[in-house]
């Protein structure tokens, strides 16, 4: 039987000044009608380049497809000219693509109707009326209500999730045989991500379209894919059915990935096991296993053997792995293993008597200006009456979808914004209205770790100076030598080589940069650190390293974290107590266990339902309840409870009055009249 798309031994190279980079090195895969396959791997693994190669979308030069066959419906696409008529008919006609960034893939100056109809007319050769009718039908199909009038709107009038739906509509417009979703849901919030993936899955079921999901997120794979290809360094290192891959991963890299990500079903004391080291430089690659330098199972013989090819895994039909050894989850590691469990401190009543931070009725409103005279026409209530306390030595997680105000809370607490109303009590002092000079003693005791490690480091400053700067600023009465010494100590603490102190930030890798940011945040020996999405920009293996580092530092130094993230699994892993925010308000606050085990607020329940788990068994037994609708605009907050517009249990009473956050069980506060 022939496959819909079969790629054989694909090779793509990029010419660089220092040599040739083999971005795709002998990749073979296939996909059948109505099948969902997934490509998983970290950034730089070549998963996207593989897809672009199959569409002949590689920028040439410097890129070049140097070998292989791409058989689509029996025709070799490589025989077509990249810009030729035949190739264009395939691209966008028979194969549709949905990219990661929905804003940049839509033209902002054309209505979405025009963009959609153009694509239909081009490929299906329909007239205006017919293409319009088809556009309306497609928008309806991807779940956009009132398609007739929304066709006249421009991309900026839609939310991120809606724009991604439109991209899917465009991709579907010519009834493609194959849909490629390249990290299509990575930039979206969890509830929207679940909606979009559910939508694509339904389309596949209905129309027998094949779907290729390119993602770094193992949980998505577990929930949606039939078969999985794991890529590393431009090669497929393992492939098989989703069940096989998750049940008996047979390549060290796959095992490493699975051990590195936290899951909602983990025991709390599980320690994440990062994959040590970095991806080998692929320029002028050697003929040996590319994972060798990071592999915890490598034997001496691995270094002498050529690059391993995919071999069938014993006892399974369609499961292949490219490893010299026979590796299973239980295999003995040749390198020392990290402990698989960590100490979880019991949270005592004693600790609760000592809050390091108390936030009382905090409000942060931003004015909205408009009209000819630039008058204030309204307010965005980014943070609206939020109260919570963070106890010394704990990790307080703050979760919510983008725009819910969690970062604004953090910035206001650090006094980067001037609170509109309310009180911030840090270490017993009311710091709400202090000026910059009065604030200095308190500032010394707090610091922040940012999302983007590159953006938060001055590109022109040496690593050593970056770490030393706060010591100088706070006039710690240290001699130059003492400061030098402290910088070296901090470098070691975060696992950086002190010899790197003369480097500038761009000479470090992403994970090293985040370590540098952590070193800086520790330099004045603070007791309170805000981590604002501190790990979300990192690859999963690096993410695990940074999470472990943060946990170790907390244990040794007794640090308190305010940990802000949108990834609920990570927050569950690291936090002692968790607050959930929705549209500027805290809707639920509890210790991690009661919050994740018995969520009381419908929004928390919806969030948790949206998060996939990296375990196909759990996923199969789980009823996916996907919440409807999108987060309303901050300018048009629904009256009463802000969640009432999406809540499945909402009643008239909910729309009348906003419920306050009240303690329903000891230590578990909820803002819902129904809970």
């Amino acid at each position: 039987m022939s496959h819909l798309l079969e790629v054989k031994n694909l090779q793509t190279e990029f010419k660089q000044s220092k040599g040739i980079l083999k971005a795709v090195n002998g990749v073979s895969y296939h996909v059948d009608e109505g099948e969902i396959i997934a490509f998983v791997g970290e950034s730089g693994s070549g998963k996207s380049v593989t897809q672009y190669s199959s569409l002949q979308l590689i920028p040439t030069p410097p890129g070049e497809i140097t070998g292989g066959e791409i058989l689509f419906e029996g025709h070799d696409l490589l025989k077509y000219k990249p810009t030729g008529e035949e190739m264009r008919k395939v691209r966008g006609g028979k194969i549709g693509v949905v990219f990661q960034e929905p804003m940049t893939s839509l033209n902002p100056v054309l209505t979405i109707g025009r963009q959609l109809e153009e694509s239909i007319r081009l490929h299906l050769k329909l007239d205006h009326a017919a293409s319009h009718a088809r556009a309306v039908e497609l928008l309806g199909k991807v779940g956009i209500s009132d398609p007739e009038s929304r066709l006249k709107e421009y991309p900026h009038e839609f939310s991120g999730g809606m724009r991604q739906r439109i991209m899917i509509a465009i991709a579907l417009s010519c009834e493609p045989k194959l849909l490629i979703a390249d990290e299509a849901t990575t930039a979206l919030d969890v509830t929207t991500q679940a909606q979009i993936l559910e939508l694509m899955k339904n389309i596949v079921k209905e129309t027998k379209t094949a779907l290729i999901l390119v993602t770094h997120n193992l949980s998505i794979v577990a929930r949606y894919a039939d078969r999985v290809y794991v890529m590393y360094a431009g090669e497929i290192v393992e492939n098989g059915t989703t069940e096989e891959i998750f049940k008996s991963p047979s390549h060290p890299y796959t095992i490493g990935l699975m051990n590195a990500v936290p899951s909602l079903t983990d025991p709390k004391d599980r320690k994440l096991v990062p994959i040590e080291g970095f991806v080998t430089n692929l320029v002028n690659r050697k003929d040996q296993c590319a994972f060798l330098n990071r592999c915890p199972y490598a034997e001496e013989s691995c270094g002498t053997l050529p690059d391993p090819l995919l071999k069938p895994v014993e006892g399974e039909d369609n499961h292949f792995a490219a490893c010299h050894r026979k590796i299973t989850k239980e295999a003995k590691r040749t390198k020392a293993a990290v402990d698989s469990t960590r100490e979880v401190k019991a949270f005592t009543e004693e600790a609760k008597k000592d809050p390091i931070l108390k936030v009382e009725h905090l409000k942060m409103y931003f004015p909205v200006y408009g009209g000819m005279l630039h008058k204030e026409v309204g307010q965005i209530k980014a943070v609206d009456d939020v109260s919570f306390e963070v106890y010394r030595g704990e990790t307080f997680g703050l979760v919510g979808e983008s725009g819910c105000g969690k970062s604004t809370v953090a910035r206001t607490v650090l006094r980067l914004n001037h609170a509109t109303d309310g009180k911030i009590i840090f270490d017993g002092n009311d710091i709400t209205h202090l000026n910059d000079t009065e604030l200095l003693p308190s500032r010394r005791n707090m610091s922040m770790i940012f999302q983007d490690p590159f953006g938060s480091l001055d590109p022109r400053q040496r690593a050593g100076d970056i770490v030393m700067e706060p010591m100088k600023n706070f006039k710690l009465k240290m001699t130059r030598e003492e400061m030098d010494h402290r910088v070296e100590e901090l470098f070691r603490v975060v696992g950086l080589d002190p010899a790197y102190r003369d480097r500038v930030p761009h000479e470090f890798s992403g994970g090293q940069r985040q370590r540098l940011v952590i070193a800086r945040s520790l330099s004045t020996d603070p007791s309170f650190i805000v981590c604002d999405e501190a790990i979300s920009a990192l690859d999963v293996s690096i993410q695990a390293q940074v999470i472990n580092l943060l946990e170790e530092l907390q244990q040794q130094l007794g640090l308190t974290y305010l940990f802000i993230a949108h990834d609920l699994s990570v927050v569950r892993h690291i936090s002692d107590r968790v607050g959930v925010m929705y549209m500027g308000r805290l809707v639920e606050l509890a210790d991690w266990k009661s919050l994740y085990d018995h969520p009381m607020h419908p929004y928390t329940q919806a969030l948790l339902d949206s998060v996939p788990v990296p375990d196909p068994d759990v996923e199969a037994g789980r009823e996916t309840k996907i919440i409807k609708g999108e987060v309303p605009s901050m300018m048009h907050r629904p009256s009463g409870c802000a969640f009432s517009s999406r809540c499945p249990h909402a009643t008239e009473a909910c729309r009348r009055e906003a419920p306050p956050l009240v303690e329903k069980e000891p230590g578990h506060r909820v803002a819902c009249i129904l809970a």
């Binding site: 650090l414 953006g455 010899a499 003369d502």
Partner: protein
């Protein structure tokens, strides 16, 4: 006091591989800088021209074959000859010597006026961008007002207020070019001050002043370097226009601009008189532009190849 075993081991493993390189970090930096600076071939050539021009300016009295002021009215507009390699001008002065001496004037006008404009303009832009509010409005409205008047007219006006002479020409050209730097810097500052590393420094206890000087200023500088090299050329040309209009350098002092405008009168009879100083202006302006671009790239750690 705070050490994790695994992290220390990791750090040691990292250090052994790179120790020798780190020891000579400073040497390595300057080597990298030179490598990045001369990465493109035209830069080598342009840098050579800059060096030659500076040498010409410094050594003009030594290498000039004749005095630039000595008139030989019997031998005006003479073509190239062994005595006068580039011939003589309308007053019988040796063109080559005047070009050498002119280098002094033109280079110093270019450098000094650019320095004046850059220093004041960048400072104003930093203040406007970082302080904001009414300070910003005031500074920028004054800059807008200055920009609304054409450069040469503005320079002419200032020149007539300040009087003639080399120093005043430099000053007035410097002043008219301030708004460009102020605007550019302000725009940069507005962007840079939003970046996380500025916030990070603020949390790390940096005052507004230290933050501006240490982080915002260096990261707002690179487009200014490009602007400065472009302005260097314009300054030489404005000086030429001023000299042409009689508001520039006092005759008989030689400057390239003045020579072009003098020679322009004899374009039909002796084109060399206008063309050669013109070529010198062109080469110098081009060379400074290329060197400026290379300097910006080499100073930016992100553009400097690892």
């Amino acid at each position: 006091m705070l050490n994790t075993k695994s992290n220390v081991e990791a750090a040691q493993a990292l250090s052994s591989s790179n120790q020798s390189r780190a020891q000579s970090a400073r040497k390595e930096r300057s080597r990298q800088f030179r490598k990045a600076f001369f990465a493109r071939k035209p830069v080598v050539f342009a840098f050579g021209i800059v060096v030659v021009m500076v040498l010409l300016a410094l050594l003009a009295p030594v290498i000039s074959p004749c005095s630039p002021y000595e008139q030989d009215l019997n031998n005006i507009l003479a073509g190239p000859s062994p005595a006068h390699l580039l011939g003589t001008d309308g007053l019988g002065r040796d063109t080559l010597s005047r070009i050498f001496y002119g280098t002094q004037v033109s280079l110093s006008v270019g450098l000094v006026s650019t320095a004046i404009a850059g220093a004041i303009g960048i400072a104003l832009g930093l203040i406007a961008g970082y302080v904001g509010g009414w300070v910003d409005s005031l500074i920028m409205r004054v800059m807008d007002a200055m920009m609304s008047i054409p450069l040469v007219i503005m320079a002419l006006f200032l020149g007539s207020v300040l009087g003639k002479g080399l120093g005043n020409v430099m000053l007035s050209i410097g002043i008219v070019m301030i708004p460009g730097y102020a605007r550019l810097t302000r725009g940069q500052v507005m962007g840079v001050k939003q970046l996380d590393f500025v916030t990070a420094a603020k949390i790390g206890g940096a005052t507004k002043f230290t933050n501006t000087v240490k982080h915002i200023f260096p990261n707002s500088l690179s487009p200014n370097i490009v602007l400065a090299t472009m302005n260097f050329g314009s300054a030489i040309l404005i000086e030429a226009s001023l000299s042409f209009l009689g508001m520039g350098i006092n005759p008989p002092t030689a400057s390239w601009g003045a020579m072009v405008s003098d020679g322009y009168k004899f374009l039909n009879r002796d084109p060399v008189l206008a063309i050669v100083p013109g070529i010198f202006i062109m080469l110098t302006v081009w060379a400074f532009n290329i060197v400026g671009d290379a300097l910006r790239d080499a100073l930016d750690p992100r553009l400097r190849g690892a």
